[in-house]
């Protein structure tokens, strides 16, 4: 694939435009760039692997594809320490509350990559009585990676799109606007 093709992502372009609509202070912009550089180059996955895609995700971490090259090195098993949730595999009714809980346990900033047809839409099991039809019905998703299972290259591509998305975010204001603790718990109740 050409590098230019890789950079072509309409939804990201749109996001950049929205974020830059009000204009940015120079100093704040520089700080933003530094922070985004750090965040986007160190994205630690939490593998929420339920089926076949989980094995392919292991292939991504293994020698041939080696996601450590891009800064995905440390797969943390504790959601507190991970940056994004790699949902690899079918999510069924019984698993749904657990997925929700693990997502809530992640520390901000947190992202979700839905890997494989099952996580994206239910895939081949869409018509089942026990399958959640796409995890975006439960938690917000940043990147969808289709395939059944997606090839490791596709997963890497999806994860790098996530890096690009992180690169254009604004830490000061915008995306990271702080919610007061009282408001947060009011929402929960």
């Amino acid at each position: 694939m050409q590098y230019e093709d890789f950079k072509d992502n309409e939804s990201l372009e749109q996001l950049v435009e929205e974020l830059n609509a009000a204009g940015t202070n120079v100093v704040v912009g520089v700080f933003d760039d530094i922070i985004n550089w750090g965040r986007s180059n160190s994205v630690w996955p939490l593998a929420f692997a339920t089926s076949c895609c989980g094995i392919e995700f292991m292939s991504v971490a293994a020698a041939r594809h080696d996601m450590a090259r891009f800064g995905f090195e440390v797969t943390r098993n504790s959601p507190r320490q991970a940056d994004f949730l790699m949902v690899a595999g079918t999510i069924v009714h019984r698993m749904a509350p657990i997925l929700k809980r693990v997502y809530d346990q992640l520390a901000e900033p947190k992202y979700v990559v839905a890997t494989g047809a099952c996580a994206v839409s239910g895939g081949p099991f869409r018509n089942s009585y026990h399958t959640v039809q796409g995890i975006d019905k439960i938690i917000p998703v940043d990147v969808f990676v289709p395939g059944c299972p997606p090839r490791p290259e596709a997963m890497l591509y999806g994860m790098m799109q996530l890096q690009r998305k992180i690169k254009v975010e604004n830490f000061f204001g915008g995306v990271n606007r702080k919610q007061k603790r009282e408001e947060f718990f009011k929402d929960k109740e």
Partner: protein
């Protein structure tokens, strides 16, 4: 078999007999437990291996089909038990005779709502406790309003339900205790790095020692069997690659073979060769993954990467021919999808040369390590008799000395034409299970080497009609998947859809035996023991 028939009719005059694939006996529920005990204790051919229990909804009646086998003589038979009461269906449990019936009966209860009397633990196996209805019944209401996605957590109950028949024939509901209030219960999974998928275990601990394990399944239950009932036969095939994704080839082989059996289709020899080679390649790749993940469970991260390195070589070979890395979709009814890639044979031969060298490297790197030896020897031991009682097939069964290889017992494809040894060990500990798998890689290479040069010319698949219909009847076929005997049961009513399709996975019995295998060990032994059983959860939950 005639002698068995005579014995049974002497014992139970009401029994009906049919000769099909195997001898089929139909008995009323009241006599079933007596018959089961007699079959289990038969002097000549004790039917000690319960292959599977298939829950059935025949329309007017609900019931089960039990497939039994004698490990001594290899005789097989099936028993059909039914009940006409659709409101409160009950059958008698045989969990006290065959240990493995425990989980199978829970599965039947979950899917059909049949309550098993005298079963010690009558909980749902796959679905949540607050799930409405029993999905595999034909009158199940599948509308999403009845069972929406529930986002509140299930409560963890420390007691279970059991229906006990008393001496006077009265049935009493009791509540046996799983965990006492002062037990230190720790929850492992379903999202845990080393439960090999989404298995959930609740363990009570005494310090580091494990007192009891209570496995929970269903966190990846996708309702494949129900969905298959509304799909045509070629469409049902694609589920098999996603059951146990590490034995995709063998699973699909089983379903194809079962359908071919029913239609009495002869598969071309070339396709048989390709199928056998692919099955063995798949087995090698699965055992390599086992090696990697098992070593990773024991803390040796580097081994995981090494295992994957060789696994990629197998995947490359399969990818060239099938076009996929994991869901191959290669076998089809009557043969295989496409012809092999021109490089197929050359690459396999190269791989067969490299792999034994790499195995030696593995042994130098991990097996010989003093820490690894200390972690594997004499831990999580299970005897041959208990293995049979638990129906633990595959490498785990063979590690305890049970010759349970389907390739030898009921040869299919080309397994009766090639020479290979069934790897058997007697220790039954983690080390034996580990070594059986390592040695099986060598045996698989031996099989492949015998076949790869002799693939005959010819068509790769039989020409089939565009719409495949099966005659009326039912069939059960088994293959040796990477982690045990994988069975497929099809019941057909002459339609292009199966009336009932049941996959009998080896993994479920491995998980069911986890309590016995790992009890008394430490937490670290639970991880190592579980890793050595090598179950794949989507295979169990289906």
């Amino acid at each position: 078999m005639a002698s068995i028939q005579e014995k049974i009719s002497a014992l139970i005059p009401e029994a009906n007999f049919t000769e099909a694939q195997v001898l089929e006996i139909s008995v009323p529920d009241a006599q079933w437990h007596k018959l089961a005990k007699a079959l289990y204790e038969d002097a000549n051919a004790p039917f000690d291996y319960l292959t599977t229990i298939v829950g059935m909804d025949w329309g007017e009646t609900l019931g089960c089909v039990y497939y039994l086998e004698s490990t001594k003589t290899g005789d097989r038979l099936s028993v059909r038990v039914e009940t006409a009461d659709r409101q409160n269906p009950t059958l008698h449990s045989v969990a006290d005779i065959w240990e493995s019936a425990n989980f199978y009966e829970r599965e039947v209860y979950d899917f059909f709502g049949i309550i098993f009397i005298n079963h010690p633990d009558m909980r749902r196996l796959f679905l949540r406790r607050d799930w409405v209805g029993h999905p595999l019944r034909k009158d199940y209401d599948a509308s999403p309003e009845v069972n929406p996605v529930r986002l509140h957590h299930e409560e963890a109950y420390d007691t279970t339900v059991s229906y006990v028949e008393q001496a006077d024939g009265k049935i009493v509901k009791t509540e046996p205790v799983i965990f006492a209030p002062d037990d230190y219960v720790i929850n492992i999974g379903p999202q845990h790095p080393s439960t090999h998928g989404v298995l959930r275990l609740r363990c009570s601990l005494d310090g580091e020692f494990i007192k009891k394990i209570d496995p929970y399944c269903g966190y990846i239950h996708r309702g494949i069997e129900k969905m298959s009932e509304s799909l045509t036969y070629p469409q049902t095939l694609h589920f098999t690659d996603r059951l146990d994704y590490l034995s995709a080839m063998q699973n699909r082989h089983a379903l194809c073979m079962c359908i071919e059996d029913a239609m009495q289709v002869e598969v071309p020899t070339r396709a048989q060769y390709i199928r056998t080679i692919n099955d063995e390649l798949m087995r090698i790749s699965s055992h390599l993954l086992f090696w990697g993940t098992f070593c990773n469970d024991l803390g040796s991260t580097t081994a995981l990467i090494y295992g994957f390195r060789e696994r990629e070589m197998v995947l490359d070979i399969l990818e060239e021919t099938t076009g996929a890395r994991m869901s191959f979709h290669y076998n089809k009814i009557g043969g295989v999808m496409q012809d092999i890639h021109p490089d197929y044979q050359r690459k396999i031969k190269e791989f067969c040369k490299i792999m034994p060298e790499r195995l030696k490297e593995y042994h130098r790197f991990f097996t010989g390590n003093v820490i690894a030896q200390g972690r594997m020897h004499g831990i999580s031991v299970i005897s041959k008799e208990r293995c049979i009682a638990h129906s633990m097939t595959g490498p785990s069964g063979r590690a305890s000395g049970w010759a349970c290889d389907v390739r030898k017992r009921i040869p299919y494809a080309l397994y009766d034409k090639v020479e290979f040894d069934e790897v058997l060990r007697t220790e039954g500990d983690i080390y034996a299970r580990y070594m059986v798998r390592m040695d099986e890689i060598l045996q698989s290479i031996r099989i492949i080497e015998q076949l790869v040069d002799n693939i005959p010319e010819g068509p790769v698949s039989e020409k089939m009609k565009p719409i495949i219909k099966l005659p009326e009847g039912h069939w059960f076929r088994q293959v040796e998947a990477s982690r045990g005997a994988f069975g497929v049961y099809i019941e057909s009513r002459g339609d292009k859809y199966p009336y009932r399709l049941k996959f009998n996975s080896p993994g479920m019995m491995l998980v069911a035996s986890l309590d016995e295998v790992c009890r008394g060990g430490k937490i670290a032994d639970l991880i190592a023991g579980g890793g050595s059983l090598d179950y794949v959860i989507p295979d169990i939950d289906r």
